[in-house]
Point group: C2
Chain length 260, copies 2
């Protein structure tokens, strides 16, 4: 008898974020969705293993969405779902899936409920009720205009508060595997001093990902954060102890320690 | 007789940024290089038209570097050039170009000049003096360990202060075309109210890129920033006047205006 539950829990889930917007690529706007989504996805056992930042060009959006949806379990897009001419994400995703863009009655109802005489539901706003045929809506509790899901592609707003609210509502639509635990150990040593021994620790725990990040503290001297990541807390406990012993061997002290 | 100067000034230059690092994809670290590089590149007439965020995996770095260096005039990478085991950018770029990673005598000299008895130039630190064969160094005035250029690929540090110092020193190595000028006009109207007329303005000035970005001000009501971008200031003057007249037609007022 096949143990399907074990097979299923061993699967790792990957996601790609596609950030759509000239305003990010021009440097005008600082993206604030990648870090949030990476952490929120990890909390449900999905690893963001790639992100793309692309311009508001239909052919580019179509090509990138088709490339990454074939490679990853989930694709999230942010940006380009407003009412103006430069909001072309919905039509581009429809084209990527080879389906028409259609008016969604429920999306229209939600926009009507929000839009009154002060904000008539004009032709431009009605664009926001159009989704690729076969898509399901993603709730927008902040400004009504919904995102949508088609296949494994989740189309979210670019405004961070709305993107977060949309993501938070997805819940059961996203299956994940094991959450990756993170243990950070920061010490008062230079990165180059511990590099050799850290390599040995990484070799001893090959299933962990161990990163080393110098911390620049112009007044307080050298520091480096050693970041251990893996699905098993117990493994991070023992490997973390080895890191702490190694720091002491080099005459260093642990300045800060955190789990996340 | 061919007017090569006009042909050359009409060329547009594109760049791709490859952000290498698990710490960005896990959400632990917020990237701070994209926005800076996009603006600094535009100042010399190079447009960032794509960015990738990829993990510290050699095969991925090799494949992405080879893909984007064929598509863009310039490729910049950030991250992964320190002394620890997870710093694999140099070896991966060497592999992408099909050349060996070699010890660079000048890079070694710079590291020796910096590293004293307190910070011996051990084997780990010496890794930072290795570059792909045929590469030229990129100065690091902050912490000595250089970046490097090979072909159209410029390998910079991930730490933003160092990445900026490295970029600032590139100067004459980068040829560019026309700078893209930006005019932003923010008004107190809802995006959906002006979407129709804005489409007409975009159609009238097809060579400009006009973006519309809602500004969320929970207390002050609606606002939207209309951002016009193009190489010709005169065109932004006339198109901007049309935008301002359109705002007045809708009973709105301009809250803020800026050139950059």
């Amino acid at each position: 008898m096949t143990d399907t539950s074990a097979a299923s829990s061993a699967k790792t889930y990957s996601a790609c974020l596609v950030i759509i917007g000239n305003e990010i690529l021009s440097g005008r706007t600082q993206d604030a969705n990648l870090a949030f989504l990476a952490k929120a996805l990890n909390d449900i056992g999905v690893q963001m293993t790639e992100a793309r930042v692309i311009p508001d060009i239909e052919d580019t959006i179509v090509a990138v969405v088709n490339e990454v949806r074939a490679k990853h379990d989930y694709v999230f897009t942010t940006g380009g779902i407003g009412p103006t001419h430069d909001d072309i994400t919905a039509q581009s995703v429809a084209k990527a899936f080879g389906v028409p863009l259609v008016l969604d009655a429920e999306a229209k109802r939600r926009l009507e409920a929000r839009h009154t005489n002060n904000l008539p539901l004009n032709e431009a706003r009605l664009r926001m009720a159009h989704v690729p045929e076969g898509a399901t809506l993603i709730d927008n509790p902040i400004s009504a205009a919904p995102g949508f899901q088609i296949g494994n592609v989740f189309v979210l707003a670019g405004v961070p508060a709305i993107a977060r609210a949309m993501f938070d509502g997805l819940g059961p639509r996203l299956a994940g595997g094991a959450r990756i635990e993170t243990r950070s150990i920061t010490c008062n040593l230079a990165e180059g001093a511990i590099a050799h021994d850290l390599t040995a620790i990484q070799a001893r725990w090959p299933s962990l990902s161990i990163g080393s990040y110098p911390v620049w503290r112009s007044e307080a001297g050298f520091a480096v954060s050693l970041v251990l990541r893996g699905p098993e807390k117990a493994e991070l406990e023992t490997a973390g102890s080895a890191v702490i012993a190694m720091i002491a061997d080099h005459g260093g002290i642990v300045i800060e320690e955190a789990w996340s």
